[in-house]
Amino acid sequence: MLVQQLLNGLIVGSVYALFALGFTLVFGVLNILNLAHGAVFMWGAFVGLYAVTVAGLPLPLAFLLGTLAAGILSVLVDLLVFRPMRKRNGDEFGALVASLGANLVLISLAQQVSNARIMSFPFGTFPIVIFEFLGLRVSLLQLTMIGCLIVLVSALLYYVYVMPFGRQVRAVAVSERTAVLLGVNPTAVYVRTFFIAGALAGAAGVIIGLAFNSVQFLMGEPMMLRAFVVIILGGMGSIRGAIVAGLLLGVVQTTVVTYISSQLSDAIIFALLFIALLVRPTGLFRGLRQPARVARS
Protein backbone atom coordinates (compact mmCIF):
# COMPACT_ATOMS: atom_id res chain seq x y z
CA MET A 1 0.00 0.00 0.00
CA LEU A 2 2.68 2.48 1.05
CA VAL A 3 4.96 1.48 -1.81
CA GLN A 4 2.06 1.82 -4.24
CA GLN A 5 1.35 5.33 -2.93
CA LEU A 6 5.01 6.25 -3.20
CA LEU A 7 4.99 5.10 -6.81
CA ASN A 8 1.82 7.06 -7.59
CA GLY A 9 3.35 10.08 -5.89
CA LEU A 10 6.51 9.84 -7.96
CA ILE A 11 4.42 9.73 -11.14
CA VAL A 12 2.35 12.78 -10.20
CA GLY A 13 5.52 14.46 -9.02
CA SER A 14 7.19 13.88 -12.37
CA VAL A 15 4.52 16.05 -14.01
CA TYR A 16 4.93 18.71 -11.33
CA ALA A 17 8.64 18.69 -12.06
CA LEU A 18 8.02 19.00 -15.80
CA PHE A 19 5.82 22.03 -15.23
CA ALA A 20 8.08 23.67 -12.67
CA LEU A 21 11.21 23.23 -14.83
CA GLY A 22 10.06 25.89 -17.29
CA PHE A 23 9.01 28.15 -14.46
CA THR A 24 12.36 27.87 -12.75
CA LEU A 25 14.27 28.27 -16.03
CA VAL A 26 12.57 31.61 -16.75
CA PHE A 27 13.20 32.74 -13.21
CA GLY A 28 16.83 31.69 -13.45
CA VAL A 29 17.44 33.69 -16.62
CA LEU A 30 15.23 36.73 -16.18
CA ASN A 31 14.75 36.82 -12.44
CA ILE A 32 11.03 37.25 -12.91
CA LEU A 33 8.19 35.15 -11.68
CA ASN A 34 6.20 34.34 -14.80
CA LEU A 35 2.68 34.05 -13.41
CA ALA A 36 1.37 33.38 -16.92
CA HIS A 37 3.09 29.98 -16.94
CA GLY A 38 -0.04 28.25 -15.63
CA ALA A 39 -2.12 29.69 -18.46
CA VAL A 40 0.44 28.48 -21.02
CA PHE A 41 0.18 25.01 -19.47
CA MET A 42 -3.61 25.18 -19.75
CA TRP A 43 -3.43 26.23 -23.40
CA GLY A 44 -1.10 23.30 -24.12
CA ALA A 45 -3.78 20.98 -22.77
CA PHE A 46 -6.48 22.83 -24.77
CA VAL A 47 -4.59 22.52 -28.06
CA GLY A 48 -3.84 18.86 -27.37
CA LEU A 49 -7.50 18.19 -26.61
CA TYR A 50 -8.85 20.09 -29.60
CA ALA A 51 -6.34 18.34 -31.87
CA VAL A 52 -7.92 15.04 -30.80
CA THR A 53 -11.59 16.02 -30.56
CA VAL A 54 -11.94 18.63 -33.32
CA ALA A 55 -9.18 17.78 -35.79
CA GLY A 56 -9.30 14.05 -35.06
CA LEU A 57 -5.52 13.71 -34.95
CA PRO A 58 -3.85 10.73 -33.29
CA LEU A 59 -2.69 11.31 -29.72
CA PRO A 60 1.10 11.45 -30.32
CA LEU A 61 0.60 14.15 -32.93
CA ALA A 62 -1.80 16.03 -30.62
CA PHE A 63 0.78 15.83 -27.84
CA LEU A 64 3.41 17.28 -30.15
CA LEU A 65 1.03 20.01 -31.31
CA GLY A 66 0.08 20.97 -27.74
CA THR A 67 3.74 21.13 -26.78
CA LEU A 68 4.65 23.29 -29.79
CA ALA A 69 1.65 25.61 -29.38
CA ALA A 70 2.44 26.19 -25.71
CA GLY A 71 6.06 26.93 -26.60
CA ILE A 72 5.01 29.50 -29.19
CA LEU A 73 2.47 31.03 -26.82
CA SER A 74 5.15 31.38 -24.18
CA VAL A 75 7.41 33.17 -26.67
CA LEU A 76 4.49 35.48 -27.54
CA VAL A 77 4.05 36.33 -23.85
CA ASP A 78 7.72 37.27 -23.74
CA LEU A 79 7.54 39.36 -26.91
CA LEU A 80 4.34 41.20 -26.01
CA VAL A 81 4.71 41.55 -22.25
CA PHE A 82 8.21 41.05 -20.90
CA ARG A 83 10.19 42.54 -23.75
CA PRO A 84 8.49 45.98 -23.65
CA MET A 85 8.93 45.75 -19.90
CA ARG A 86 12.68 45.12 -20.25
CA LYS A 87 13.01 47.91 -22.80
CA ARG A 88 11.47 50.38 -20.42
CA ASN A 89 13.56 49.11 -17.51
CA GLY A 90 10.59 47.82 -15.59
CA ASP A 91 11.24 46.48 -12.12
CA GLU A 92 10.50 43.07 -10.62
CA PHE A 93 7.14 44.17 -9.30
CA GLY A 94 6.18 45.42 -12.74
CA ALA A 95 7.05 42.08 -14.33
CA LEU A 96 5.02 40.29 -11.68
CA VAL A 97 1.98 42.49 -12.31
CA ALA A 98 2.33 42.27 -16.10
CA SER A 99 2.57 38.47 -16.04
CA LEU A 100 -0.47 38.34 -13.76
CA GLY A 101 -2.28 40.40 -16.39
CA ALA A 102 -1.14 38.07 -19.18
CA ASN A 103 -2.39 35.14 -17.10
CA LEU A 104 -5.83 36.76 -16.78
CA VAL A 105 -6.04 37.49 -20.50
CA LEU A 106 -5.09 33.94 -21.49
CA ILE A 107 -7.47 32.41 -18.93
CA SER A 108 -10.46 34.50 -19.97
CA LEU A 109 -9.80 33.73 -23.64
CA ALA A 110 -9.81 30.03 -22.78
CA GLN A 111 -12.99 30.50 -20.77
CA GLN A 112 -14.72 31.89 -23.85
CA VAL A 113 -13.31 29.32 -26.25
CA SER A 114 -14.49 26.48 -24.02
CA ASN A 115 -17.65 28.16 -22.68
CA ALA A 116 -16.24 27.41 -19.22
CA ARG A 117 -16.99 23.72 -19.73
CA ILE A 118 -14.96 20.91 -18.25
CA MET A 119 -13.84 18.89 -21.25
CA SER A 120 -12.23 15.51 -21.49
CA PHE A 121 -10.48 13.34 -24.03
CA PRO A 122 -12.81 10.87 -25.77
CA PHE A 123 -12.91 7.43 -24.20
CA GLY A 124 -10.15 5.20 -25.48
CA THR A 125 -7.83 8.01 -26.58
CA PHE A 126 -5.20 6.35 -24.48
CA PRO A 127 -5.48 2.56 -24.14
CA ILE A 128 -6.17 1.48 -20.57
CA VAL A 129 -3.61 -1.18 -19.92
CA ILE A 130 -2.59 -2.06 -16.39
CA PHE A 131 0.55 -3.95 -15.57
CA GLU A 132 1.10 -5.73 -12.29
CA PHE A 133 4.44 -6.67 -10.90
CA LEU A 134 5.58 -7.35 -7.34
CA GLY A 135 2.04 -6.51 -6.24
CA LEU A 136 2.21 -2.98 -7.69
CA ARG A 137 -0.28 -1.70 -10.21
CA VAL A 138 1.02 0.59 -12.92
CA SER A 139 -0.96 1.73 -15.93
CA LEU A 140 0.51 2.21 -19.37
CA LEU A 141 -0.38 5.90 -19.09
CA GLN A 142 1.68 6.22 -15.92
CA LEU A 143 4.62 4.49 -17.57
CA THR A 144 4.30 6.87 -20.52
CA MET A 145 4.26 9.83 -18.13
CA ILE A 146 7.50 8.68 -16.54
CA GLY A 147 8.95 8.02 -19.99
CA CYS A 148 8.03 11.51 -21.18
CA LEU A 149 9.60 13.07 -18.13
CA ILE A 150 12.83 11.12 -18.58
CA VAL A 151 13.09 11.97 -22.29
CA LEU A 152 12.22 15.66 -21.90
CA VAL A 153 14.38 16.21 -18.85
CA SER A 154 17.36 14.44 -20.44
CA ALA A 155 16.95 16.63 -23.51
CA LEU A 156 16.77 19.72 -21.35
CA LEU A 157 19.81 18.75 -19.30
CA TYR A 158 21.76 17.99 -22.48
CA TYR A 159 20.74 21.31 -23.99
CA VAL A 160 21.54 23.34 -20.88
CA TYR A 161 24.64 21.57 -19.61
CA VAL A 162 26.32 20.20 -22.76
CA MET A 163 25.35 22.51 -25.61
CA PRO A 164 26.60 26.13 -25.69
CA PHE A 165 23.06 27.29 -24.91
CA GLY A 166 23.55 26.57 -21.22
CA ARG A 167 26.60 28.81 -21.05
CA GLN A 168 24.75 31.54 -22.94
CA VAL A 169 21.82 31.29 -20.54
CA ARG A 170 24.10 31.53 -17.55
CA ALA A 171 25.93 34.46 -19.12
CA VAL A 172 22.68 36.37 -19.70
CA ALA A 173 21.49 35.38 -16.22
CA VAL A 174 24.57 36.90 -14.64
CA SER A 175 24.71 40.04 -16.76
CA GLU A 176 22.99 40.82 -20.01
CA ARG A 177 25.42 43.59 -20.85
CA THR A 178 28.50 41.42 -20.37
CA ALA A 179 26.84 38.67 -22.38
CA VAL A 180 26.38 41.06 -25.31
CA LEU A 181 30.06 42.05 -25.09
CA LEU A 182 30.95 38.37 -25.30
CA GLY A 183 28.93 37.96 -28.50
CA VAL A 184 25.83 36.37 -27.02
CA ASN A 185 22.54 37.52 -28.51
CA PRO A 186 20.27 37.95 -25.50
CA THR A 187 17.10 38.13 -27.58
CA ALA A 188 17.79 34.68 -29.00
CA VAL A 189 18.45 33.39 -25.50
CA TYR A 190 15.16 34.84 -24.24
CA VAL A 191 13.18 33.43 -27.15
CA ARG A 192 14.69 29.97 -26.73
CA THR A 193 14.26 30.02 -22.96
CA PHE A 194 10.61 30.97 -23.20
CA PHE A 195 10.01 28.41 -25.93
CA ILE A 196 11.54 25.60 -23.88
CA ALA A 197 9.67 26.71 -20.76
CA GLY A 198 6.36 26.90 -22.61
CA ALA A 199 6.89 23.61 -24.43
CA LEU A 200 7.61 21.79 -21.16
CA ALA A 201 4.47 23.33 -19.65
CA GLY A 202 2.44 22.33 -22.70
CA ALA A 203 3.68 18.74 -22.51
CA ALA A 204 2.75 18.71 -18.83
CA GLY A 205 -0.67 20.14 -19.74
CA VAL A 206 -1.51 17.39 -22.23
CA ILE A 207 -0.26 14.73 -19.81
CA ILE A 208 -2.29 16.12 -16.88
CA GLY A 209 -5.35 16.45 -19.13
CA LEU A 210 -4.99 12.78 -20.05
CA ALA A 211 -4.18 11.54 -16.56
CA PHE A 212 -7.10 13.25 -14.82
CA ASN A 213 -9.20 13.19 -18.00
CA SER A 214 -10.31 16.74 -17.46
CA VAL A 215 -9.33 19.91 -19.29
CA GLN A 216 -10.73 23.26 -18.21
CA PHE A 217 -9.74 26.89 -18.21
CA LEU A 218 -8.83 27.03 -14.51
CA MET A 219 -6.53 24.01 -14.55
CA GLY A 220 -3.40 26.18 -14.50
CA GLU A 221 -4.04 27.74 -11.12
CA PRO A 222 -3.45 24.71 -8.86
CA MET A 223 -0.39 23.86 -10.96
CA MET A 224 1.06 27.33 -10.45
CA LEU A 225 0.64 27.03 -6.71
CA ARG A 226 2.35 23.65 -6.72
CA ALA A 227 5.11 25.09 -8.88
CA PHE A 228 5.66 27.78 -6.23
CA VAL A 229 6.27 25.03 -3.69
CA VAL A 230 8.56 23.19 -6.10
CA ILE A 231 10.74 26.16 -6.99
CA ILE A 232 11.00 27.37 -3.41
CA LEU A 233 11.89 23.91 -2.12
CA GLY A 234 14.25 23.23 -4.99
CA GLY A 235 15.81 26.67 -5.07
CA MET A 236 14.73 29.43 -7.43
CA GLY A 237 16.30 28.86 -10.82
CA SER A 238 17.74 25.43 -10.06
CA ILE A 239 16.99 22.69 -12.60
CA ARG A 240 18.12 19.82 -10.40
CA GLY A 241 16.19 21.34 -7.52
CA ALA A 242 12.97 21.51 -9.53
CA ILE A 243 13.21 17.81 -10.43
CA VAL A 244 13.94 16.65 -6.88
CA ALA A 245 11.38 18.97 -5.29
CA GLY A 246 8.73 18.10 -7.88
CA LEU A 247 9.05 14.39 -7.16
CA LEU A 248 9.11 15.10 -3.42
CA LEU A 249 5.95 17.19 -3.63
CA GLY A 250 4.16 14.45 -5.56
CA VAL A 251 5.04 11.89 -2.89
CA VAL A 252 4.06 14.23 -0.03
CA GLN A 253 0.78 15.06 -1.69
CA THR A 254 -0.30 11.46 -2.32
CA THR A 255 0.73 10.50 1.19
CA VAL A 256 -1.28 13.36 2.71
CA VAL A 257 -4.31 12.54 0.59
CA THR A 258 -4.13 8.85 1.51
CA TYR A 259 -3.37 9.08 5.20
CA ILE A 260 -4.63 12.46 6.41
CA SER A 261 -7.28 14.22 4.34
CA SER A 262 -7.80 15.05 0.72
CA GLN A 263 -9.52 18.32 1.57
CA LEU A 264 -6.66 19.48 3.73
CA SER A 265 -3.95 18.52 1.24
CA ASP A 266 -3.77 22.02 -0.28
CA ALA A 267 -3.53 23.69 3.11
CA ILE A 268 -0.81 21.24 4.16
CA ILE A 269 1.15 21.74 0.95
CA PHE A 270 1.12 25.51 1.36
CA ALA A 271 1.98 25.23 5.03
CA LEU A 272 4.99 23.25 3.77
CA LEU A 273 5.81 26.15 1.45
CA PHE A 274 5.66 28.56 4.37
CA ILE A 275 7.98 26.42 6.44
CA ALA A 276 10.38 26.11 3.52
CA LEU A 277 10.39 29.89 3.09
CA LEU A 278 11.05 30.37 6.79
CA VAL A 279 13.72 27.77 7.29
CA ARG A 280 15.54 27.84 3.99
CA PRO A 281 14.28 30.46 1.54
CA THR A 282 17.17 29.74 -0.82
CA GLY A 283 15.96 26.18 -1.31
CA LEU A 284 17.80 22.90 -1.36
CA PHE A 285 19.89 23.61 -4.45
CA ARG A 286 21.72 26.58 -5.84
CA GLY A 287 20.10 28.34 -8.79
CA LEU A 288 21.57 29.61 -12.06
CA ARG A 289 22.29 32.88 -10.33
CA GLN A 290 24.72 32.95 -7.50
CA PRO A 291 24.65 33.90 -4.77
CA ALA A 292 20.98 33.18 -4.21
CA ARG A 293 19.07 36.38 -4.17
CA VAL A 294 16.97 36.70 -1.06
CA ALA A 295 17.62 40.27 -0.04
CA ARG A 296 16.76 43.11 -2.35
CA SER A 297 19.72 44.33 -4.35
Binding site: M85, G94, A98, S261, Q263, D266, L277, P281
Partner: protein, 298 residues
Protein backbone atom coordinates in the same frame (compact mmCIF):
# COMPACT_ATOMS: atom_id res chain seq x y z
CA UNK B 1 -33.26 35.25 -3.60
CA UNK B 2 -30.29 36.83 -1.91
CA UNK B 3 -28.27 36.75 -5.09
CA UNK B 4 -31.09 38.54 -6.88
CA UNK B 5 -30.88 41.43 -4.46
CA UNK B 6 -27.09 41.46 -4.68
CA UNK B 7 -27.30 41.82 -8.45
CA UNK B 8 -29.28 45.02 -8.02
CA UNK B 9 -27.07 46.51 -5.31
CA UNK B 10 -26.10 50.06 -6.13
CA UNK B 11 -22.84 50.36 -7.95
CA UNK B 12 -21.82 53.01 -5.48
CA UNK B 13 -21.56 50.57 -2.57
CA UNK B 14 -19.31 48.27 -4.57
CA UNK B 15 -17.11 51.16 -5.63
CA UNK B 16 -16.72 52.30 -2.02
CA UNK B 17 -15.83 48.79 -0.91
CA UNK B 18 -13.29 48.26 -3.66
CA UNK B 19 -11.72 51.64 -2.82
CA UNK B 20 -11.31 50.48 0.76
CA UNK B 21 -9.78 47.14 -0.24
CA UNK B 22 -7.51 48.91 -2.73
CA UNK B 23 -6.12 50.95 0.19
CA UNK B 24 -5.22 47.72 1.97
CA UNK B 25 -3.14 46.76 -1.07
CA UNK B 26 -1.82 50.32 -1.41
CA UNK B 27 -0.39 50.60 2.09
CA UNK B 28 1.84 47.53 1.77
CA UNK B 29 3.10 48.51 -1.69
CA UNK B 30 3.86 51.96 -0.39
CA UNK B 31 6.11 50.48 2.25
CA UNK B 32 7.91 48.46 -0.42
CA UNK B 33 6.30 45.16 0.57
CA UNK B 34 5.14 43.03 -2.34
CA UNK B 35 2.26 41.50 -0.43
CA UNK B 36 -0.89 40.21 -2.06
CA UNK B 37 -2.47 39.16 1.22
CA UNK B 38 -5.32 41.71 1.04
CA UNK B 39 -7.70 39.05 -0.29
CA UNK B 40 -6.93 36.79 2.68
CA UNK B 41 -7.42 39.56 5.24
CA UNK B 42 -10.71 40.51 3.60
CA UNK B 43 -11.83 36.86 3.73
CA UNK B 44 -10.93 36.65 7.42
CA UNK B 45 -12.80 39.87 8.19
CA UNK B 46 -15.83 38.95 6.11
CA UNK B 47 -16.26 35.51 7.64
CA UNK B 48 -15.64 36.73 11.18
CA UNK B 49 -18.20 39.54 10.86
CA UNK B 50 -20.73 37.28 9.16
CA UNK B 51 -20.40 34.61 11.85
CA UNK B 52 -20.60 37.19 14.67
CA UNK B 53 -23.80 38.61 13.20
CA UNK B 54 -25.58 35.43 12.11
CA UNK B 55 -24.60 33.07 14.95
CA UNK B 56 -24.02 35.41 17.88
CA UNK B 57 -26.37 38.26 17.00
CA UNK B 58 -23.68 40.91 17.31
CA UNK B 59 -24.43 44.52 16.37
CA UNK B 60 -22.97 45.75 13.08
CA UNK B 61 -20.39 48.19 14.55
CA UNK B 62 -19.16 45.51 16.95
CA UNK B 63 -18.86 42.99 14.15
CA UNK B 64 -16.98 45.37 11.84
CA UNK B 65 -14.63 46.52 14.60
CA UNK B 66 -13.98 42.90 15.57
CA UNK B 67 -13.30 42.04 11.91
CA UNK B 68 -10.93 45.01 11.72
CA UNK B 69 -9.11 43.88 14.87
CA UNK B 70 -8.84 40.28 13.67
CA UNK B 71 -7.52 41.50 10.32
CA UNK B 72 -4.89 43.58 12.10
CA UNK B 73 -3.88 40.62 14.23
CA UNK B 74 -3.65 38.40 11.14
CA UNK B 75 -1.50 41.04 9.44
CA UNK B 76 0.77 41.36 12.44
CA UNK B 77 1.18 37.60 12.77
CA UNK B 78 1.86 37.20 9.04
CA UNK B 79 4.54 39.86 9.15
CA UNK B 80 6.62 37.84 11.63
CA UNK B 81 7.47 34.92 9.33
CA UNK B 82 7.68 37.24 6.32
CA UNK B 83 10.22 39.55 7.95
CA UNK B 84 13.09 37.64 6.33
CA UNK B 85 11.61 37.63 2.84
CA UNK B 86 11.71 40.24 0.09
CA UNK B 87 10.23 40.89 -3.36
CA UNK B 88 9.30 37.73 -5.26
CA UNK B 89 9.54 35.56 -2.16
CA UNK B 90 7.11 37.82 -0.32
CA UNK B 91 4.78 37.67 -3.30
CA UNK B 92 4.85 33.86 -3.38
CA UNK B 93 4.36 33.56 0.38
CA UNK B 94 1.40 35.94 0.43
CA UNK B 95 -0.27 34.33 -2.60
CA UNK B 96 0.14 31.01 -0.78
CA UNK B 97 -1.34 32.60 2.36
CA UNK B 98 -4.42 33.60 0.39
CA UNK B 99 -4.75 30.02 -0.85
CA UNK B 100 -4.31 28.60 2.66
CA UNK B 101 -7.05 30.87 4.02
CA UNK B 102 -9.43 30.02 1.17
CA UNK B 103 -8.86 26.27 1.49
CA UNK B 104 -9.21 26.41 5.30
CA UNK B 105 -12.52 28.24 4.88
CA UNK B 106 -13.68 25.55 2.46
CA UNK B 107 -12.53 22.86 4.88
CA UNK B 108 -14.08 24.29 8.06
CA UNK B 109 -17.58 23.59 6.82
CA UNK B 110 -19.40 23.52 10.19
CA UNK B 111 -18.26 27.08 10.93
CA UNK B 112 -18.03 28.67 7.50
CA UNK B 113 -20.53 26.73 5.43
CA UNK B 114 -17.79 25.34 3.18
CA UNK B 115 -18.37 25.77 -0.53
CA UNK B 116 -21.88 27.12 0.01
CA UNK B 117 -20.60 30.06 1.99
CA UNK B 118 -22.73 32.04 4.39
CA UNK B 119 -26.07 33.21 3.08
CA UNK B 120 -28.88 35.32 4.47
CA UNK B 121 -26.65 37.80 6.26
CA UNK B 122 -28.79 40.78 7.30
CA UNK B 123 -27.83 43.97 5.48
CA UNK B 124 -26.68 46.02 8.43
CA UNK B 125 -24.23 48.28 6.61
CA UNK B 126 -25.60 50.79 4.14
CA UNK B 127 -24.01 53.37 1.89
CA UNK B 128 -23.56 55.75 4.81
CA UNK B 129 -21.58 53.18 6.76
CA UNK B 130 -19.37 52.48 3.76
CA UNK B 131 -18.77 56.20 3.24
CA UNK B 132 -17.76 56.53 6.88
CA UNK B 133 -15.38 53.56 6.49
CA UNK B 134 -13.75 55.02 3.38
CA UNK B 135 -13.51 58.47 4.98
CA UNK B 136 -11.73 56.99 8.00
CA UNK B 137 -9.34 55.02 5.79
CA UNK B 138 -8.54 58.05 3.61
CA UNK B 139 -8.02 60.25 6.67
CA UNK B 140 -5.76 57.63 8.23
CA UNK B 141 -3.73 57.29 5.05
CA UNK B 142 -3.38 61.07 4.67
CA UNK B 143 -2.20 61.45 8.25
CA UNK B 144 0.24 58.58 7.86
CA UNK B 145 1.60 59.92 4.60
CA UNK B 146 2.27 63.32 6.11
CA UNK B 147 3.88 61.90 9.24
CA UNK B 148 7.25 60.29 9.76
CA UNK B 149 5.69 56.91 9.05
CA UNK B 150 4.93 57.93 5.47
CA UNK B 151 8.47 59.18 4.98
CA UNK B 152 9.84 55.94 6.44
CA UNK B 153 7.62 53.97 4.03
CA UNK B 154 8.90 56.06 1.12
CA UNK B 155 12.50 55.50 2.14
CA UNK B 156 11.95 51.75 2.51
CA UNK B 157 10.27 51.48 -0.87
CA UNK B 158 12.93 53.45 -2.70
CA UNK B 159 16.02 51.94 -1.17
CA UNK B 160 15.99 49.62 1.77
CA UNK B 161 19.72 49.81 2.39
CA UNK B 162 19.63 53.59 2.60
CA UNK B 163 16.57 53.41 4.85
CA UNK B 164 18.39 51.10 7.24
CA UNK B 165 21.39 53.42 7.20
CA UNK B 166 19.04 56.25 8.16
CA UNK B 167 17.97 54.28 11.22
CA UNK B 168 14.61 53.07 9.96
CA UNK B 169 13.69 49.69 11.41
CA UNK B 170 12.65 47.53 8.48
CA UNK B 171 10.98 44.89 10.62
CA UNK B 172 8.97 47.47 12.56
CA UNK B 173 7.70 49.39 9.55
CA UNK B 174 7.00 46.29 7.47
CA UNK B 175 5.00 44.92 10.42
CA UNK B 176 3.14 48.22 10.66
CA UNK B 177 2.32 48.09 6.95
CA UNK B 178 1.01 44.54 7.30
CA UNK B 179 -1.08 45.47 10.36
CA UNK B 180 -2.59 48.47 8.56
CA UNK B 181 -3.24 46.37 5.47
CA UNK B 182 -4.88 43.67 7.62
CA UNK B 183 -6.99 46.15 9.58
CA UNK B 184 -8.24 47.98 6.47
CA UNK B 185 -9.01 44.77 4.58
CA UNK B 186 -10.50 43.12 7.69
CA UNK B 187 -12.92 46.01 8.21
CA UNK B 188 -13.60 46.15 4.46
CA UNK B 189 -14.32 42.43 4.36
CA UNK B 190 -16.62 42.74 7.36
CA UNK B 191 -18.50 45.58 5.67
CA UNK B 192 -18.68 43.57 2.46
CA UNK B 193 -20.26 40.65 4.33
CA UNK B 194 -22.81 42.91 6.05
CA UNK B 195 -23.60 44.74 2.81
CA UNK B 196 -23.96 41.99 0.19
CA UNK B 197 -26.16 39.39 2.00
CA UNK B 198 -23.96 36.40 1.18
CA UNK B 199 -20.28 35.52 0.99
CA UNK B 200 -18.47 32.50 -0.37
CA UNK B 201 -14.84 31.45 -0.19
CA UNK B 202 -13.94 31.64 -3.88
CA UNK B 203 -14.74 35.33 -4.20
CA UNK B 204 -11.82 36.07 -1.86
CA UNK B 205 -9.24 34.18 -3.89
CA UNK B 206 -7.68 35.40 -7.11
CA UNK B 207 -10.59 37.64 -8.20
CA UNK B 208 -10.26 39.92 -5.19
CA UNK B 209 -6.46 39.80 -5.24
CA UNK B 210 -6.49 40.93 -8.87
CA UNK B 211 -9.17 43.60 -8.37
CA UNK B 212 -7.32 45.23 -5.46
CA UNK B 213 -3.98 45.07 -7.26
CA UNK B 214 -5.41 46.39 -10.54
CA UNK B 215 -6.99 49.37 -8.76
CA UNK B 216 -3.69 50.39 -7.18
CA UNK B 217 -1.61 49.78 -10.32
CA UNK B 218 -4.07 51.77 -12.43
CA UNK B 219 -4.52 54.63 -9.99
CA UNK B 220 -1.05 55.01 -8.58
CA UNK B 221 1.00 53.66 -5.72
CA UNK B 222 2.09 56.76 -3.82
CA UNK B 223 -0.67 59.36 -3.84
CA UNK B 224 -3.71 58.81 -1.60
CA UNK B 225 -5.95 59.63 -4.55
CA UNK B 226 -4.45 56.79 -6.58
CA UNK B 227 -6.39 53.81 -5.20
CA UNK B 228 -9.64 55.81 -5.22
CA UNK B 229 -9.27 56.79 -8.87
CA UNK B 230 -8.18 53.27 -9.84
CA UNK B 231 -10.96 51.48 -7.99
CA UNK B 232 -13.61 53.94 -9.20
CA UNK B 233 -12.49 53.61 -12.83
CA UNK B 234 -12.47 49.81 -12.64
CA UNK B 235 -15.93 49.78 -11.06
CA UNK B 236 -17.48 52.28 -13.46
CA UNK B 237 -15.80 51.11 -16.69
CA UNK B 238 -17.98 47.98 -17.14
CA UNK B 239 -21.11 50.07 -16.55
CA UNK B 240 -20.25 52.62 -19.22
CA UNK B 241 -19.40 50.05 -21.86
CA UNK B 242 -21.72 47.09 -21.36
CA UNK B 243 -19.74 44.56 -23.42
CA UNK B 244 -16.83 45.16 -21.09
CA UNK B 245 -18.85 43.80 -18.16
CA UNK B 246 -18.79 40.29 -19.62
CA UNK B 247 -15.08 40.58 -20.34
CA UNK B 248 -14.18 41.83 -16.90
CA UNK B 249 -11.18 39.54 -16.38
CA UNK B 250 -9.88 40.18 -19.88
CA UNK B 251 -10.13 43.94 -19.33
CA UNK B 252 -8.42 43.71 -15.94
CA UNK B 253 -5.62 41.68 -17.51
CA UNK B 254 -5.10 44.10 -20.37
CA UNK B 255 -5.18 47.08 -18.02
CA UNK B 256 -2.57 45.47 -15.77
CA UNK B 257 -0.26 44.78 -18.74
CA UNK B 258 -0.65 48.11 -20.53
CA UNK B 259 -0.53 50.33 -17.45
CA UNK B 260 2.43 48.63 -15.80
CA UNK B 261 4.45 48.80 -19.04
CA UNK B 262 3.53 52.23 -20.38
CA UNK B 263 2.36 54.10 -17.29
CA UNK B 264 4.14 52.20 -14.52
CA UNK B 265 3.37 54.79 -11.86
CA UNK B 266 -0.36 54.85 -12.46
CA UNK B 267 -2.64 57.68 -13.53
CA UNK B 268 -2.60 59.90 -10.46
CA UNK B 269 1.11 59.67 -9.68
CA UNK B 270 2.07 60.38 -13.29
CA UNK B 271 -0.24 63.41 -13.42
CA UNK B 272 0.97 64.60 -10.03
CA UNK B 273 4.61 64.33 -11.11
CA UNK B 274 3.85 66.26 -14.31
CA UNK B 275 2.04 68.92 -12.29
CA UNK B 276 4.91 69.29 -9.84
CA UNK B 277 7.44 69.46 -12.67
CA UNK B 278 5.34 72.00 -14.56
CA UNK B 279 4.86 74.17 -11.49
CA UNK B 280 8.54 74.02 -10.62
CA UNK B 281 9.49 75.08 -14.14
CA UNK B 282 6.99 77.93 -14.01
CA UNK B 283 8.16 79.22 -10.66
CA UNK B 284 11.89 78.82 -11.10
CA UNK B 285 12.58 78.66 -14.81
CA UNK B 286 16.34 78.56 -14.26
CA UNK B 287 16.26 75.30 -12.32
CA UNK B 288 16.71 72.27 -14.50
CA UNK B 289 14.59 69.59 -12.97
CA UNK B 290 16.00 66.11 -12.76
CA UNK B 291 13.87 63.04 -13.16
CA UNK B 292 10.93 63.39 -10.82
CA UNK B 293 10.63 59.64 -10.88
CA UNK B 294 11.00 58.75 -7.28
CA UNK B 295 9.75 61.90 -5.66
CA UNK B 296 7.15 61.08 -3.03
CA UNK B 297 3.82 62.59 -3.93
CA UNK B 298 1.41 63.52 -1.20
Amino acid sequence: MNDLFAAYKPLFDITLLSCGLAFSQYVVLRAGVESFATAAFAAIGAYFAAILVTKWGAAAPVAVLAACALGAVAGGLLSIPLARLRSVFQAIATIAFVQIVVSLILYAEPVTGGALGINGIPQLVGTLGLLLYLAIVVALMTVINRSGIGRAFDALRQDETVAVALGISVIKYHALAFILSGAIAGAGGGMLALNTFSIHAEQFGFPLLVAALAAVVLGGRTSVLGPIVGAALLAILPEIARPLAEQRLLVYGLILIVIIIYLPRGIVDTLAARWIAWRAVRQTPSVVLGSADDQPVH
